[in-house]
Amino acid sequence: MHIHLADQYRPGAGWLHRLDPRVKVIVCLGFILTASGLPPGSWLSLAGLFLIALGAAWSSGLGVTFALRRSLIALPFALAALTLPFTTPGERLLEWPALGLAVSRPGLIQAGSLLLRAWLAVQAAALLLGTTRFRELLWALEAVRVPAVIVSLLGLTYRYLFLLADEALHMLRARRARSAGGRGPGMRWQARAAGAMVGALFLRALERSQRVHAAMLSRGYDGRARILQTRRLLPADTLALTLAFAGFGGLIAAALTAA
């Protein structure tokens, strides 16, 4: 199955869940920018970022291993990065002339830094998405100046995603039920059938979108979404944002001055 409908949100009541979603979005972006901007080989600063992510996960009751499984998604890219020690020119640490392979020091530093910062960025995003409902996330995105049209589009996509995915899964189940596990006359035929299913799904979606649009118009939709429930920034939110950025600043400065 090439679709996984496991929403990343974990219900909970830790302080990360209660933190203002706008603050979470900004801090998460700051974290990822910091991680990506650190020069290769800034091990101390990378460790500092790791402690921040670990501390946040642990202190808000998510568990230390929360983000670990999500890191697997980066596996194909991690495998590509593992070729770096062999392909980067520079001082050689190990050599196998018989195989024509050599491990270079800059290559090792680059590959190690890369995998660490990718792993850290995955953790930061996992913490944001694990503690923020999609509805709150959309509201936060609009508050940090993402155009309202895009935010509404994302909201509608999310709203009908699970419905249409269900419909696609029903169609797949119907195909399995009628083909008795057989593989059909051949790949061409299979592809044609899959294409026809996609086409049929499109017609259903098109019809649904027209019904949805008519229903929205009948309720007074004028192209803007209105949200009744908002929240105000609390002193604790300001404190969290300021402290997080202080941490990032300190770690960047440490990486730049490290001798």
Binding site: R117, L161, A196, S209, A246, L256
Partner: protein, 307 residues
């Protein structure tokens, strides 16, 4: 694992910061152009539901050889069914929701991911499809196949150029591997796109008969996409050191600097402070205070926007 669409969603950390930021700049310009050329407010329900359709259509697959399966990424199909600008916006919603809800692909890398899978895939598919002629003619499925195949190849090539430019993997390794794998993935994409076009041509030809020019002027997209590809290709073509050599030089320099006992950025040494440990501590405090100020100002502006 390699034969899944996730292999095209670049996660965070695998692009260098400047490369990632350039990608965001190009993508924001493309999105602004798309929003200007579509009547988005009145088409929101249509595009939202159809973005969800693309997402769901990615679940429909068929077995190919060796335990892999053919399936859809959707850029070409979105462009054929909705027009390139609307298709690009629908794909933007798909790829962004994949990043924000399912963590497929990074947030900083989302700029290039949108450039590849939403903009480039849609406009490449649209270009092939229009070149090959009538939407409703007998050649429509063949045009759909080529549009689907090329959209995947274009997006995959762009993604490997971005990775190579970031110094994440050597171009001579990533390009053949990516092109080889995606030439196969593209066949699945092409077959499903062709099948969908053939089905719709029989079942409801009206939905394929988009009025010509309904999707507006394509030139801004060609300009921005061309600029992006040129930015990706120039460093490789002009004999500049490739990403990895640059990385190596920087790191070798760092190692030499360490060996000579000077800091990587000795300009940061603070005059009048002789102890390196104290200088580092001061720099750390300064950096922390500086960004704490930035954080506080951001919080202030959030609070001000409320009232």
């Amino acid at each position: 694992m390699f034969l899944s669409p996730a292999a095209m969603h670049i996660p965070d950390g695998f692009l260098s910061l400047p490369v990632a930021l350039v990608g965001w700049g190009l993508t924001l310009a493309l999105l602004a152009a798309a929003l200007r050329r579509t009547n988005t407010a009145s088409q929101l329900p249509l595009m939202g539901v159809l973005a969800a359709f693309i997402f769901a259509a990615q679940a429909i697959n068929f077995p190919v050889a060796a335990g892999t399966s053919g399936h859809l990424i959707g850029g070409a199909l979105a462009a054929i069914l909705l027009g390139p600008w609307q298709g690009m916006l629908a794909m933007t919603a798909v790829v962004t929701v994949q990043a924000l809800v399912f963590q497929d692909g990074g947030l900083l890398a989302l700029g290039w991911n949108l450039f590849n899978m939403a903009a480039l895939a849609c406009f490449a598919g649209d270009w092939v499809h229009r070149r090959l002629g009538a939407l409703q003619g007998r050649r429509a499925p063949a045009a759909g196949f080529l549009a689907g195949w090329l959209s995947v190849m274009a997006a995959a090539t762009a993604a490997s150029l971005q990775l190579a430019l970031s110094g994440t993997v050597a171009l001579r390794l990533v390009l053949p591997a990516t092109l080889g794998v995606h030439a196969l993935i593209g066949i699945g994409e092409g077959l499903i796109t062709a099948g969908a076009v053939a089905f719709l041509r029989g079942a409801q030809p009206a939905v394929l008969a988009r009025p010509e020019g309904a999707s507006g002027d394509r030139r801004p997209a060609y300009l921005l996409l061309g600029l992006g590809l040129a930015l990706l290709l120039t460093p490789l073509a002009s004999g500049f050191p490739d990403g990895l050599e640059r990385v190596a030089e920087r790191l070798e320099f760092g190692a030499q600097a360490r060996g000579l006992g000077i800091g990587l950025l000795s300009d940061y040494a603070i005059p009048g402070v002789s102890s390196p440990a104290l200088a580092t501590a001061l720099a750390v405090a300064l950096g922390a205070a500086l960004l704490a100020g930035v954080g506080w100002l951001l919080a202030r502006s959030l609070a001000r926007a409320e009232s």
